[in-house]
């Protein structure tokens, strides 16, 4: 049985202050927390057990999430962790997002954040402890009432049951329990006793998401609130020179037009009027031509930069000497464009502003960062700003904005207009709003050794730094942004290569960039896994066998690779015209291997099936892990087939789903997911499914056409078989 080291002092420090006899979460203004502590209309009273858990007198168990539900399933996984220790009735669970506040700070990152595929493993102990602590206190309180001792009681389905079979519900003893001192020693259950962990649970957010009642940021409405639409500059960072609002103001329903740092906002009674108002607005922009970049020039400049010496990110042996020996050197240059997150729900934020407080309603992965940024704009203290997290209509990193862009913009509109506002971005605003996966160029030179394995590998990476100017800037060490090199400098292949050199260039470009589902691995996995494939073919080796020989010291990648190969029938015959490709990659603490089965008919690609295996250590909710693999694969497939943001004279060319396409139902392959039975350290699931799919398919395309793909997205000529 494992034991936690949760001391009483630490617990109080983390989570609570005593107020009016009840414990309420630290940093949450008592009278201002309508959404979480509101008692039920039916007279139900909620009693806070700790920052993550409230129990109602009607036995409802209200669970507060430190992480945001953006599709990945924390709305279900976190309750599983609590229920595992609490012994509550699963059907009585209600879930809410926690506020911005100290108890909800990420256990590994030190700021409140949903990202990096970390929620489950980083909360694995904290949420179980929250459940276990409450169960101990409830048991003590019930034992006191039943004139017995806790050791003579058991807990089951929301009840404390005494040796003589008397029982009290959690709701009946919640108030007394909350007044007890939290225990200093909280034992957690042995895995052999687990009832929830490791068994698939259905999502708790489905009922409200299939009947229109789930509230996303876009759905917030308050009496008297106006809707704001903002005219943004055509080139990133350009400022307003002048504007003429007379035609906009003439549109019935338009109430106000105000200038803000990021553009000109039109406020109206409803979205449509605000949108028409913006269409009628005339704005002159002050554009610096030097900052109006062009994608084609950028590629040329990246090519030039790649031929110069960069900052070394990994180094072994003498790569230059080895590359000059022999004649079998393989050289390749890869290019990856900017990518938009294109979450289904365009960015939006609602701000209710009064003299001494500000209430924000938005879908965010970054509650405390938003709170601090909003307070700064308003000249308030952070605790005067309340951040209410709604459901997120997709995020993929976009809603963890390092500049808090859409929240800051909404607060500026509220401040400049003096109105309560909902800022709504159109799809075009969203597509052209920046914060893309950075464009990257890779230049690779490899010399195979006599055994066909890579003997020397020189790798140059050129692309903007994401961490620069972000809350994680300190992660940049010696000029290396790990988000640019992850998956290469730490690749298990690289460790096996006696002579290698990885160099990085991080040019500064006037295009805002951000983490995009699986971040650096979106491009590094593609380069590594297609080049390894190329080397396997050069060595006349089977691509799976070749990888096995290089991964013999990396059991986790090997386990995923072997399982995917087995389940896909690797090496067995395929229908005529079908081809397979494989890739394996570790990211966010998990190893994922995928085998793609494709055909090319009339120069058109069809992905028939993807077999996927993941080693994520313990899978708390296995079906949730499978769902994330399916999701990550479609996400990566979209990038391979279509993803490309380009700029001309600083203007983003793409604007909506007709020219920034998404994979649709008719293009979606069958996906077969298998989870490695593993005792390895827990890893993530939200992102690791994305990196391997594009190289697996590119390798299958090579098998079909004999052509290597080096530029994404796919071009028609990549699929020509003649």
């Amino acid at each position: 049985m494992s034991k936690s080291n949760l001391t009483r002092r630490k617990f109080l420090q983390d989570s609570t202050i005593i107020a009016g006899g009840l414990i309420i979460p630290f940093s949450v203004p008592a009278g201002n927390r309508k959404t979480v502590l509101a008692d039920g209309a039916d007279g139900t009273k909620f009693i806070t057990q700790n920052a993550y858990l409230h129990i109602g007198t009607d036995n409802t168990v209200k669970i507060l999430l430190a992480h945001s539900e953006m599709g990945q399933g924390v709305w279900t996984t976190m309750p599983m962790l609590i229920a595992e220790e609490l012994d509550c009735d699963w059907n009585n669970i209600k879930v809410e997002h926690g506020p911005a506040g100290a108890p909800y700070i990420h256990t590994a990152f030190g700021i409140q954040l949903t990202g990096g595929s970390t929620s489950t493993w980083s909360e694995f102990d904290r949420y179980r402890k929250a459940g276990a602590t409450a169960r101990m206190m409830l048991t003590q309180a019930a034992a006191d009432k039943m004139n017995t001792t806790p050791d003579k009681c058991k807990t089951e389905n929301g009840y404390v049951i005494s040796a003589s079979n008397k029982k009290l519900s959690y709701g009946e003893v919640a108030e007394a329990a909350a007044k007890l001192p939290p225990p200093s020693d909280v034992p957690l259950r042995d895995p052999s006793k687990w009832k929830y962990i490791g068994k698939s649970k259905r999502r708790l957010d489905t009922p409200e998401k299939i009947n229109g009642t789930a509230k996303f940021g876009m759905d917030m409405q308050f009496p008297g609130m106006l809707t704001a639409v903002v005219a943004h500059p055509p080139v990133f960072g350009a400022k307003v020179k002048s504007f003429d609002a007379s035609k906009a103001k003439a549109i019935p329903g338009v109430q106000q037009v105000v200038e803000i740092p990021s553009g000109v906002a039109v406020l109206a009674d409803h979205y449509w009027e605000a949108k028409l108002g913006r269409d009628a607005l005339k704005v002159e922009w002050d554009i610096d031509p030097a900052k109006a970049i062009d994608s084609r020039d950028q590629l040329d400049s990246y090519k030039r930069i790649a031929s110069t010496t960069g900052v070394a990110a990994a180094k072994a042996g003498d790569v230059n000497a080895e590359l000059s020996k022999g004649s079998k050197k393989i050289e390749a240059e890869y290019f990856f464009p900017y990518l938009a997150h294109a979450a289904m729900e365009p960015m939006n934020c609602t701000v209710l502003l009064s003299e001494n407080s500000c209430e924000i309603w938005t879908g965010t992965q970054f509650q405390m960062q938003e709170q601090t940024a909003a307070a700064k704009v308003l000249g308030m203290k952070p605790e005067q700003v309340m951040v209410n997290t709604t459901f997120l209509g997709g995020a993929f990193g976009r809603r963890a904005n390092k500049d808090n862009d859409y929240v800051v913009e909404a607060v500026h509109v509220a401040k400049a207009s003096g109105k309560n506002v909902k800022l709504v971005w159109s799809r075009e605003d969203d597509m052209r709003g920046g914060y893309y996966r950075p464009a990257f160029l890779h230049k690779v030179q490899v010399m195979p050794a006599t055994d066909g394995k890579p003997g020397a590998w020189k790798h140059t990476i050129v692309g903007q730094s994401i961490m620069q100017g972000s809350p994680f800037e300190a992660m940049i060490q010696n000029g290396i942004d790990p988000a640019s090199t992850e998956g290469i400098s730490d690749s298990p292949y690289m460790k096996e290569i006696p002579n290698h050199l990885v160099e990085l260039h991080s040019p500064v470009v006037n295009v805002p960039v951000l983490w995009w589902r699986s971040v650096g691995h979106t491009h590094t996995a593609f380069v590594m896994e297609t080049m390894i494939d190329e080397l396997a073919f050069a060595a006349k080796a089977d691509p799976v066998e070749y990888r096995r020989s290089l991964l013999k010291n990396h059991g986790r990648n090997l386990a995923a690779l072997n399982l995917a190969a087995e389940k896909s029938g690797w090496g067995k015959s395929l229908p005529a015209g079908h081809f397979r490709g494989v890739a394996v990659h570790e990211s966010f603490g998990s190893s994922v291997a995928q085998v793609a089965e494709i055909s090319i008919v009339n120069d058109a690609l069809k992905v028939h099936k993807v077999t996927c295996a993941i080693d994520c250590g313990l899978a708390v909710n296995p079906d949730g892990v499978a769902a994330q693999m399916e999701s990550g694969i479609i996400f990566g497939l979209t990038a391979l087939l279509y993803g490309e943001i380009t700029l001309e004279k600083g203007r983003v060319k793409q604007r909506n789903f007709h020219d920034y396409k998404m994979v649709r139902m008719n293009e979606a392959p069958v996906i077969d997911v298998h989870i490695v039975k593993s005792t390895e350290k827990m890893g993530g699931a939200g992102e690791p499914g994305t990196p391997p799919i594009a190289p697996a398919i590119a390798n299958a395309i090579f098998a079909a056409t004999g052509k290597r793909i080096r530029t994404l997205p796919l071009r028609p000529e990549d699929l020509k078989t003649t």
């Binding site: 957010d205 299939i210 759905d219 979450a343 459901f391 139902m665 979606a668 069958v670």
Partner: protein
């Protein structure tokens, strides 16, 4: 004033006639289950039924819906009992959920017209609805399941 019948209830709305039905539903009537995704009939998040046919409400002017019958996700069933809603629940289809109102409304018309849809029927009917979370495989399986549930439960 535009008169509309939405989910069996009559409404009179004071709105300019060139307003898309989507914004009348969301901003004027508070029916926010119908979602804004693209504004140009590309993503299907705003799908509703106009006289029983699936339309993209973001490009359907309210004047076209005047006097007609509109059904939104809120009106599909009173208690999540529609075969599609039951299948969505059982199969854990959704993730972020933002597109799913539109997915379900498109699938409802498919299921009415093709009580036993083939995979290609599903491709045909559902390819106008984007899911950025990529839940397509589960949507496909759940539509097949809903077809069975519909048969077992009789046509409603």
């Amino acid at each position: 004033m535009v008169k509309l019948t939405i989910n069996g209830k009559e409404h009179s709305v004071d709105v300019r006639p060139d307003t898309p039905l989507l914004w009348v539903l969301r901003d004027h009537l508070g029916l926010t289950g119908t979602k804004f995704g693209c504004g140009m009939a590309q993503c299907g998040a705003c799908t509703v039924h106009l006289n029983g046919e699936a339309v993209r409400s973001c490009v359907t002017l309210v004047s076209r819906a005047a006097g007609q019958k509109v059904t939104t996700i809120e009106g599909l069933s009173k208690d999540n009992s529609h075969p599609l809603q039951r299948a969505w629940l059982e199969d854990d289809v959704l993730q972020c959920g933002y597109c799913q109102s539109g997915q379900i409304m498109s699938a409802a018309v498919l299921l009415r017209d093709h009580p036993n849809p083939s995979d290609s029927d599903i491709d045909q009917a559902m390819s106008g609805n984007i899911c950025r979370c990529g839940t397509y495989q589960r949507i496909r399986n759940a539509i097949h399941k809903a077809a069975k549930l519909q048969k077992e439960g009789g046509v409603k």
